[in-house]
């Protein structure tokens, strides 16, 4: 038997970056497991309830970077009750005890409290980077603790969190000795900021490359900041409300003229078309542009701006760009890889928006496109077939037709064939979201062709259990399946229960699964947590009193080595 000294194994394993490769290596034998676990620096836990935090810290004591995700994806759309779970506390506490060398923490969809942030700030002397995405439960007091105690902080990145505003002092808590910031993003904060403190902070951090301001920061303040940080690569503006007759506007023009390194722009809160001229000088170098919070920027002014951005790789816009605007993108942005078109009119009847025409135009102009999120009013099979032919490189394809269950308006047919073309053509498709009128057939196509599909989101689709079974049988690499308002029931759920052990999670809401079906699943698969989320009045009923025929409103199933949950609220039943 060949013998590799540990040092050699360690050296080889060091070359392995991806979690998957390292996970594979660790299963070879005990020796390799040991070498791998002691040398792992980045740990990613996709579901915080899949394993207890202490086990993670014990296995990887020299971990430098930890990422944890909490609530299921549909929590983004208010389908998961507020206090369902996903608490950061046990993770931060366990890390403070077991991995004091931690440098980076990234949390997504978790509940983080001010106490958690204070513990974090005080427990890790080498802490460098905190990234919170779609989290909630904390206030600016927690941020003050981070600013105060994290010496050498390089990154504080707050993306779309719900943060309670307890005042503007938190930013002043960065001591004068803090000069290490590289990235600061507080765009999601709603409250006022101490702009003097911000400007001084920016001035004393020579390595600052990414700065994303919130809506409370005025153009006047932005001008001063840009004057002190002309080397910014990534900028999120604050409020862009400015009258182009004013001094502030002229200063803005000059400020942007000085930003030679700027490659990514976002923010544009309250921006109207008249501020756009100021950013023309940087457009030619932009690789990323996010105008999706600027509903007043549209029409010809938007097109004029787009036509300057020929190096764009990533574009996020609102649907008021219209098909015409997308045609301009198609003819200008030949390097475009990622496009997101968000709905500007969420609540009511629409005005100018995008249709299948815009998407077809994009596909014929931007052959490098690999990631799409597209909200539109209608889609045709013909268009999808064309898009599939033009863009075979999609790894992420998310289409949301705003009217649930809407057929192809030209033929009145379901969109099975269109999506079928997408999965046939895009061999590397990893993520897919469906919408429109869809029968079981589309799931047959997905099961047959979407070999690398890892995440599938389904809403208001399908005819019968067969649809779900096609997917479970066919998609060998499926990790996350989330379904709402589809006629899938117990037969589909129980067809292949071992499949769920190969997946991270399954979500089903407003489908046809019953309590009996869920009980059966839980009984057969102890390695899964089968959670019923029961928000109706019947939640007062004890679970035992409900019959097997009771329809389950929300079901969340996930593999876990931590049986059950200690922190589940009353309305969550773990069978």
């Amino acid at each position: 038997m060949t013998y590799f000294p540990e040092e050699v194994v360690e050296h080889i394993v060091d070359f392995l970056g991806s979690h998957r490769d390292r996970n594979a290596v660790s299963t070879v034998c005990k020796a390799w497991y040991q070498v791998e676990r002691l040398s792992r620096r980045n740990v990613f836990v996709g579901n915080c309830y899949a394993i207890r935090p202490e086990r993670v810290m014990a296995r990887f004591p020299w971990m430098k970077s930890l990422g944890v995700k909490g609530k299921p994806h549909f929590a983004d759309f208010n389908l998961v009750p507020y206090d369902w779970g996903g608490f950061a506390q046990p993770w931060i506490e366990a890390a403070a005890r077991g991995c004091p060398g931690l440098e980076e923490l990234r949390l997504k969809r978790m509940v983080v409290t001010d106490d958690d942030l204070e513990l974090l700030a005080r427990s890790f002397p080498s802490f460098k980077s905190l990234v919170l995405v779609s989290c909630e439960g904390f206030s600016t007091d927690g941020l003050a603790a981070i600013a105060t105690y994290c010496r050498g902080l390089r990154e504080l990145d707050l993306q779309e969190n719900e943060v309670e505003d307890h005042g503007r002092q938190w930013l002043s808590c960065f001591p004068d000795s803090c000069t290490s910031l590289v990235s600061l993003n507080f765009a999601c904060l709603k409250g006022e900021i101490n702009t003097n403190a911000l400007e001084r902070l920016v001035a004393r951090c020579p390595d600052l490359r990414s700065l994303k301001l919130n809506r409370a920061i005025s153009v006047e303040s932005l001008n001063r900041i840009l004057a002190r940080a002309p080397h910014l690569v990534d900028l999120g503006t604050g409020s862009m409300m400015v009258n182009h007759h004013t001094e502030a506007y002229h200063r803005l023009i000059n400020a942007f003229l000085g930003c030679k390194s700027l490659r990514s722009l976002s923010g544009f809160w309250d921006a109207s078309s008249c501020c756009l001229q100021a950013v023309y000088p940087v457009c030619v170098n932009l690789t990323a542009l996010n105008l999706s919070y600027a509903p007043a920027i549209q029409g010809d002014d938007l097109i004029k701006l787009i036509c300057l951005c020929f190096k764009l790789q990533k574009l996020w816009v609102l649907d008021c760009i219209g098909d015409k605007g997308l045609a301009a993108v198609a003819s200008t942005c030949k390097d475009l890889q990622e496009l997101r078109v968000f709905p500007s009119d969420i609540y009511g009847a629409g005005t100018t928006a995008v249709t299948e025409e815009g998407l077809v135009a994009i596909s014929s102009g931007c052959s490098k496109l690999n990631s799409l999120l597209y909200f539109c009013y209608q889609m045709t099979n013909t268009a999808l077939v064309t898009v599939a032919k033009n863009c075979p490189h999609f790894t992420r394809f998310r289409l949301c037709i705003l009217d649930p269950g809407k057929p192809d308006p030209v033929t009145d047919q379901p969109l099975d064939e269109g999506f079928g073309a997408i999965v046939r053509s895009c061999k590397n498709l990893r993520r897919l979201s469906l919408s429109g009128l869809l029968t079981d057939k589309v799931f047959l196509y997905i099961g047959m062709h979407a070999e690398h599909l890892e995440m599938l989101s389904i809403a208001f689709a399908g005819d019968s259990d067969k649809g779900m079974v096609y997917v479970l049988n066919g998609c060998k690499n499926l990790r996350k399946l989330e379904i709402r308002d589809c006629p899938f029931g117990d037969d589909a759920l129980l067809k292949d229960v071992t499949k769920y052990e190969t997946m991270r999670s399954l979500w089903m809401s407003s489908c046809d699964v019953t309590l009996g079906g869920c009980r059966a699943l839980a009984a057969k698969m102890p390695s899964l947590n089968v959670e019923i989320i029961n928000e109706s009045d019947e939640a007062d009923e004890f679970q035992e009193n409900l019959s097997d025929l009771h329809k389950v409103e929300k079901l969340y199933v996930y593999r876990t080595v931590a049986r059950g949950r200690t922190d589940a609220p009353d309305f969550v039943w773990i069978l």
């Binding site: 983004d76 759309f77 719900e162 009258n243 109207s272 549209q298 968000f342 969420i346 705003l402």
Partner: protein, 215 residues
Amino acid sequence: MSTTETGCSSTEPEVTGGLGYAETELTLGLPGAGGSRPSETDRKRGFAEAVGLNLEAASRGEHCGARSSDSSDGPVSGAVKPSAAKAQVVGWPPVRSFRRNALRSCTYVKVAVDGAPYLRKVDLEAHGGYEQLLAALEEMFSCFTVRHYPDERRLVDPVNGTEYVPTYEDKDGDWMLVGDVPWKMFVASCKRLRLMKSSDAINLATRMPQECSNK
């Protein structure tokens, strides 16, 4: 806040002479609709059945909110959200709360009335269109009643007969007549509202949106 039913008056717009100048006749129609009523297709999109903005429906005496199934649910205070079953599906369209709130939260604007001692605030996005907004204003300043002109409404103080024309300040700092631009564009660009005495309003010019980019 008033707690009466939707304040949308439903009498048919009457044909009167207005200011008497055909060219300066003020309209609430979408640009290009001319002097005629805005066609239904201009107004109806998407969840068409649910949106109450329909002058013909108004002329039949229905409340603006009547088509929305929830209009019987008590105080609406002028906010008529299209509430078809589709529009009220939880979590649909799948847009993150942060984004929903961010695009919604800034639409409260101050409303001033010439001669009134206090200001009010109104959430523009709470209304589906110009009709509902004016109805809300009427409720808010309940001393006024609404007088109808072809495709236009003015608020009238019945005590002295003074007419008020709704105007707004846009993002460029210019004062505009309410109703010229599509509703969505108005909501996005309106910074505040002012009910101006119609005698003062004659001097406001209608400005086409393209002018901005020519500067």
